[in-house]
Subunit: 418 residues, 2 copies
């Protein structure tokens, strides 16, 4: 079968399965999640063997150490997948929730019911654990999933697909509600993102290049997360110790995450007293600072920042630093150079805090908190399939609710329109 | 200036204006709406003169009577535009609403704030009153709007744009928050739907062909409404009088609207007793019936329905009729042939009603109510910019909330991630 036909078949099967999934009871969905967990637990040897195949091929093909690390299914990662499945099973079922029921003057009663989106296509890199994360969230939210992982992980993903299929069969849910694309042909992605008749939304997880390419070519809605250029703005009226703790934590808690601060903005009225202390702390932690001219007047051994630095998602121990004359300049900078991901103000001033919350155009806007909190678990969503920097449909961490939609329900007693 | 440059300029101006609009107070937005209403009221002569120009050109170019009717700005239509502006001014401001604030174990408090989408592009046919409807909803929801009406209405739309600009200037809001595209070049649409840097969402209003074309070519999210193939299903346990009233009202209240019933489904167990009475009522109202074989066994003078009839949005006094053996067959038919718009069951059976609500995959699902209720005003949204048959972002009637998004707000007291 050629790739186009193969993907069409997956699409048709997913569409059919999505109808059954939308009706599936909470209990059946949870039983399936726990059955997948058991199946994985009982298949450790098979999974490790399949993964070893991928690792060997990867090493042969010269994958770098970071890629190989992400590709590996260690025992700890298998445990994490099992725990993840159990956690998603324990989350409340979003499907069927009815809200905002109210009577209208015509006599009808109207509200909204939460329903699955239908079929979700997930495109991700060579991290086999994403296969299980994505499958569990789609399953719990009553959607059918088509999963396309990186080609380097194909053996691992096929072995995981086997566990999923066995579990679904045992529980009596349609096997096609989770399908793993079992070809490494790149054309499969091109097909997946241009089948609006079978796929309702695409969630790409990977590098900026991949996501831009998918967004450009997709004929289906895309829930996308491009990059995380997050800011902390230390206001003149900041509490000194909160400012230092949050500026350090936002940058150094983890360097490689999208909610890590990449640019620090400091009010000119407090920079002279707070920046030297912060610079010392960053130096001890091995963070390189790249500052504007005014910042370098205060801390002379900073590298000079260029225009490119304000646009940069370093994902590394590097931090851009800029002195601003007032909060308006900070907000302008964030809305211009940021990626609408997560930005935090440190201030004790009520009016400025309120204005910052209103005017910063980002998916998460914070007062006196570390940008590192922008995360599905920290927000209480239970789990996330990604963090959306879009404004349409889902914004910020996308949990189970982000994989659903709401339809109107109208309850009447024979009412007709006058 | 060529069309591409012209549209880029409109886009840049809209993006800049959208920042100011997002900050605009409820009071300023309402003052602007009322000022536009006053300006229109004071410009009746100018508006009528501009419209007469369009009407003369339209007649010369051989526009048909229906198009000319929609193009005309009668005094009554001008009054309706003024009332519409006043109604939108009276609606609650959706922007800034904060919901779901709760504390997390880390100490942070998290919730959602409703914010404008940014820049909305509206593409519509030659109905000048849509210019004011669209402008008012975008303005109230804090968005900047770029309006592209049909070329036949260009003089009317320019005159209305003049009223809007004068009013915005008087109130002190940026003039570019509502811009009317003042070229009839078709390339303007192509540009508008492919400027994701300046336009956040496109709302096309018009025929199915236009909307399909825009959805296919857009590089920006589209809130779309394709067609309205709505169903009423009369269950075996239907209350006879509710069934007859709703079946008649859903079809005959207005023929040309998207929430009009196009196919009637009747349970085989009640068809023999209810269909003859319904057929008589429809005949008196001049509605042509096209039935399946079983329906024609009961009412012999029906035209035979073909497969094409189940797919048809007649927008006319024609109704397809099908007998089904049970509700599952009805739901299958609706999910297969319908357009996911609005569908209603008539039944006194609690379990069946609940199942119908859950399993029918449409933007509005009803029990014992006329499909004609699927409407922004009837649902209490105040006004609507369209009815979305999509699942992403907005579904069903799209009011002010549908033109907004929600961002996360996090309030802390110095919390950092452990």
């Amino acid at each position: 079968m050629n790739v186009a036909d193969y993907m069409q078949t997956l699409g048709q099967q997913a569409r059919a399965a999505s109808r059954a999934m939308a009706r599936a009871s909470t209990n059946d969905k949870n039983r399936a999640l726990l059955a997948i967990a058991d199946e994985i637990s009982n298949s450790r040897d098979t999974l490790r063997a399949a993964n070893a195949e991928d690792m060997a091929r990867g090493a042969e093909n010269g994958l770098d150490a970071a890629l190989l690390d992400r590709l590996e299914l260690t025992d700890a990662r298998i445990d994490t997948m099992i725990e993840g499945l159990q956690q998603v099973a324990a989350l409340p079922d979003p499907v069927g929730e009815i809200t905002d029921m109210k009577y209208r003057p015509s006599g009808i009663q109207i509200g909204k019911m939460r329903v699955p989106l239908g079929v979700i296509g997930i495109i991700y890199e060579s991290r086999p654990n994403v296969t299980i994360e994505a499958a569990s969230l789609c399953l719990k939210s009553g959607n059918a999933a088509i999963l396309r992982g990186g080609s380097e992980a194909i053996a691992s993903n096929k072995a995981l697909a086997e566990c999923i299929t066995t579990a679904l069969k045992a529980v009596g849910l349609p096997e096609a509600c989770v399908q793993v694309v079992e070809t490494t042909d790149r054309e499969a992605v091109g097909q997946l993102i241009t089948m609006p008749e079978y796929v309702d939304v695409i969630v790409p997880r990977g590098g900026k290049g991949l996501i831009e390419r998918i967004s450009r070519d997709a004929r289906v809605a895309v829930i996308k997360h491009l990059d995380g250029i997050c800011h902390v703005y230390i206001d003149r009226e900041a509490d000194r110790s909160k400012a230092i703790n949050i500026a350090i934590n936002s940058k150094t808690h983890r360097y490689g995450t999208c909610n890590t601060m990449e640019t620090l903005l400091v009010h000119a009225g407090i920079a002279g007293t707070i920046l030297p202390e912060l610079a010392d702390a960053y130096e001890q932690l091995g963070v390189e600072l790249r500052g504007c001219d005014k910042a370098r007047d205060i801390v002379s051994d900073m590298v000079a920042a260029t225009e490119a630095d304000w646009h940069e998602e370093y994902l590394a121990p590097i931090l851009a630093v800029k002195i601003v004359e007032d909060m308006d300049e900070a907000i302008d900078h964030i809305n211009t150079y940021g990626s609408h991901h997560t930005d935090s103000i440190i201030s004790e001033n009520y009016t400025l805090a309120r204005q910052f919350l209103t005017e910063v155009d980002s998916s998460s806007v914070m007062v006196n908190a570390s940008t590192r909190f922008a995360d599905g678990f920290e927000y209480g969503l239970g789990a996330e399939i990604g963090i959306s920097t879009d404004k349409i449909h889902a914004r910020g961490p996308v949990g189970l609710d982000g994989l659903t939609s709401q339809k109107y329900v109208v309850l009447g007693n024979g009412e007709v329109r006058k």
